[in-house]
């Protein structure tokens, strides 16, 4: 059972990891995007519809990425150009996306699609235990766990990462150093949205293989909380995503085994874990937060 919980954790953690990595990028540039939840939904919906129409899950993933990026572009415009409140803009975007996808996706509820197929890594997938655990997933799973170290390298070892973090720490300093701060922030938020869109694609095309309205079910908000657990660090996000994924998987296992616990209670567990985690970590890790975010949370912006 432990192995299947872990395997399920890695799979269920994938959309959370994509969304968390995207939010790490945006927040490192000083912008909190509470609209991730909405971008995931838009991605899931666009990906599903495209796949249903074209029978190509790859096109579906591309459409999901585009849709997530486009949704986040709205947030970037609102907070970078219009200088609207980040919290309000993100929440509004989330509800907007929820409404739009529920409407547009209605005809596709219960439609069957050609889902993203698992892709066993030749050779490695035959290894005992590890093979099934790590190397028998679909391509989006591999992508997520490879993306984390890649984003880490970009953030901390390239000039683009330096520029992005500088903008997120002190915009005035970054500006004085000749960086185009608005461009950097747009890019970061849109990248974050693209990743959230891919998270949605994984949900509807590989994980659930169906479209249901509101199917992201709070994963975007878990991602926002995970960014804090992960202290804005892409590698630590992996650990958090797997833990949360495992809770989702465990909850399914318990329900599948017919344990006499209300499914409503089980549905709560990931969010309960979020609250407990925040309670334990919020104090200790506040000062690793990018300085630019302080303005958001202290309401100066």
């Amino acid at each position: 059972m432990l192995a299947s919980v872990l395997e399920g954790g890695i799979r269920a953690g994938t959309p959370i990891l994509y969304a968390t990595l995207g939010e790490v990028i945006a927040e490192r540039a000083g912008i909190v995007n509470l609209g991730v939840e909405g971008a995931i939904l838009v991605g899931a919906c666009a990906g599903f519809i495209t796949t249903a129409q074209t029978q190509s899950p790859l096109l579906g993933i591309a459409a999901a990425a585009l849709a997530g990026g486009a949704a986040s572009l709205v947030h970037a415009f609102m907070v970078v150009t219009v200088r609207a409140n980040q919290i309000a803009s993100g929440l509004a975007l989330m509800f907007l996306c929820l409404g739009v996808t529920s409407f547009v996706g209605r005809p596709y509820v219960a439609v069957k699609i050609n889902a993203v197929a698992p892709l066993a890594v030749p050779g490695l997938s035959d290894l005992p235990v590890v093979g099934r655990l790590l190397f028998s997933h679909d391509v989006l799973v591999y992508g997520a766990y490879l993306l984390a170290p890649l984003i880490w390298l970009i953030l901390f070892y390239t000039k683009w990462g330096l520029a992005l973090r500088a903008v997120g720490e002190r915009q005035a300093v970054a500006f004085a150093s000749g960086l185009p701060t608005a461009v950097v922030q747009y890019a970061a938020v849109v990248c974050g949205g693209v990743l959230a869109g891919v998270a949605g694609a994984h949900l509807s095309l590989a994980y659930a293989r169906s479209w249901v309205e509101g199917m992201s079910n709070g994963r975007g908000f878990i991602a926002v909380a995970l960014v804090i657990f992960a202290t804005w660090h892409p590698l630590r996000a992996v650990l958090g995503a797997v833990i949360f994924g495992a809770v989702f998987a465990l909850q399914l296992q318990i329900q599948a085994r017919g344990v006499a616990l209300s499914p409503y209670f089980l549905d709560m567990t990931p969010y309960l874990l979020t609250l407990v985690g925040l309670l334990l970590l919020a104090r200790a890790q506040r000062h690793t937060m990018p300085e630019g975010l302080k303005e958001v949370f202290e309401g100066l912006k």
């Binding site: 070892y157 390239t158 000039k159 330096l162 500088a166 720490e169 005035a172 300093v173 004085a176």
Partner: protein, 516 residues
């Protein structure tokens, strides 16, 4: 002439900051710009750095006219500036901060090369700093060195330093001056903004004095005296020559404030208080010298009841107030001028009148504030303002729109007119110009002579030596020396403050400070 500013005029809505300013600077000279706050020094230098575009006037270097539309134009022309508030990112390492300033940076920045250059400049100009340290771990002096290295690495030949000494301890100032002299020897041209006469006389080759946006004159140092400069600086206004008149205080009286080995735990890597004992009498100013962040904040907050002491006792008029709330301390006659007035002392969005009665709500707004007579309040405030000889705009404007100096005056006025028995004041003249500083000092002296006990927490050593009856030096949350002004000079205090020297002074809770 190497650098030439011709007829620079710059106005902001309602203010003419620079009015037809001409300035000529030689290659390889240290040129001081002397003037009070608001004289236009910083504006002029920001024009030279491309930060502001002048309304009129031209800038030329080596005879070639420059069109500076942004700081990056200035950097390309070899002009660099260290701002008063540093342009560094605290969470980044020194190397990362310098990488940000480099015009041509590879996709993967060559950190080894940057580290090497930091070392080279460090060795050549005495700008020693650990390239891998995070900026928040560095002292202010070290951060300033990082800023100067940034300029050198980005190829600047003209260095503008905006009040570089205002954040430094005296021996650090000496270190900075040595660095500047080495730079001058290598042909760097340095523009040095200050309002301190002593520094000008110590370092500048030539001095240009600004007043109210215009040049009063340019002197070479050999021909200038402090007296001349002070006259040029302040204009017709009468110069302060006399020291303060001090009324002696009654001997043998019980101290207003006593601390008995008070300890406060530090927060977030800051040092707290480690067994601090001191006593303060009515009619006395006790100066607390120290580099910011060495426990002064914790000291003040412990006394005000904003922070609990983990050990030790705090006595007010002999009564243990270690566990008293802030509200009780205020009621008992304790007043405070906080560290960051705009954030902690006033509510910027409220009007002057509203702010003026914040700490005396019960008196001005009786019966739970249901029936507040604003006209009476306004009269009372106007009367107070008149008594203190202040000029303040309409009482209905939000405090947030006032200058820092005016906010500080209002605060002093508000707190002193309550006739507190104890006043805790943090950096009362930080950011104030000469005239406003003098007024603040006079108000504090007036309160002292009126019998108030004043705890003066400051970084300005001249201010501490001028005002204090006694002086303690803080370092790492403990008292490392106690003196009377006259027993010690600024350099020695500075060395104690920064832990560069230890004084043979022993902390004993029984006799905290030599009684006066």
């Amino acid at each position: 002439m190497y650098l030439r500013l011709d007829g620079i005029t710059k106005s902001f809505p309602g203010v003419l900051a620079n009015c037809g300013i001409n300035l000529e600077v030689d290659r390889g000279e240290i040129h001081a710009l002397l003037g009070e706050n608001g004289a236009g020094k910083s504006t002029l230098m920001k024009v030279l750095y491309g930060f502001y575009q002048p309304d009129a006037g031209t800038i030329s270097v080596d005879g070639a006219r420059l069109d500076l539309r942004s700081p990056s134009d200035a950097i390309r022309a070899g002009i660099g500036m260290v701002f008063q508030s540093f342009m560094l990112i605290p969470a980044f390492s020194v190397v990362e901060n310098i990488a940000l300033a480099l015009p041509r940076l590879g996709v993967v920045p060559d950190t080894a090369d940057i580290r090497e250059r930091v070392r080279q400049y460090g060795a050549r100009y005495g700008l020693t700093v650990d390239p891998d340290a995070k900026v928040w771990q560095l002292s202010v002096g070290e951060q300033q060195r990082v800023e100067i290295i940034k300029l050198l690495v980005s190829g600047a030949r003209i260095l503008i330093l905006d009040e570089p000494t205002s954040v430094l301890a005296p021996h650090e100032i000496r270190g900075l001056f040595e660095i500047l002299q080495t730079l001058r020897r290598d042909g760097y041209t340095i523009l040095f903004i200050t309002h301190k006469l002593k520094e000008v006389m110590a370092i500048a080759d030539r001095i240009t004095v600004l007043r109210k946006g215009s040049v009063v004159g340019t002197l070479s140092r050999d021909k200038a005296t402090e007296q001349d400069l002070a006259y040029m600086l302040l204009g017709e206004r009468e110069l302060r020559t006399d020291t303060f008149s001090r009324r002696g205080r009654a001997d043998g009286a019980r101290p207003v404030l006593e601390l008995e080995s008070v300890s406060v735990p530090g927060e977030r890597g800051r040092c707290g208080l480690a067994g601090v004992s001191l006593s303060l009498h009515g009619g006395e100013i006790l100066g607390v010298a120290g580099v910011t962040g060495n426990g002064q904040t914790e000291l003040g907050e412990a006394i005000l009841g904003l922070r609990r002491a983990a050990h030790g006792r705090i006595l007010l008029d002999g009564v243990d107030v270690s566990h008293a709330t802030t509200a009780r301390m205020l009621e008992a006659g304790v007043a405070c001028i906080p560290e960051d007035p705009l954030r902690m002392g006033v509510a910027p969005g409220l009007t002057i009148a509203e702010n003026m009665i914040l700490t005396e709500r019960r008196r001005f707004m009786p019966r739970g504030g249901l029936f507040t007579d604003w006209r009476a309040i306004r009269r009372a405030i106007e009367e107070r303002i008149e008594n203190f000889g202040l000029t303040i705009p309409r009482l209905t404007v939000p405090v947030g729109t006032l200058s820092g100096g005016n906010v500080q005056r209002l605060l002093l006025l508000r707190e002193l007119s309550r006739r507190p028995k104890l006043l805790v004041t943090f950096y009362p003249t930080r950011g104030l110009d000469v005239a406003a500083t003098r007024m603040a000092h006079e108000l504090l002296m007036m309160a002292r002579n009126g019998g108030a006990a004043i705890l003066l927490i400051s970084e300005d050593l001249d201010e501490l030596l001028d005002l204090s009856d006694r002086l303690v030096v803080f370092s790492r949350g403990a008292i490392v020396g106690a003196f009377r002004p006259g027993e010690i000079d600024t350099v020695d205090i500075g060395l104690l403050m920064t832990g560069a020297k230890r004084h043979e002074w022993h902390d004993s809770p029984a006799s905290p400070i030599p009684a006066s």
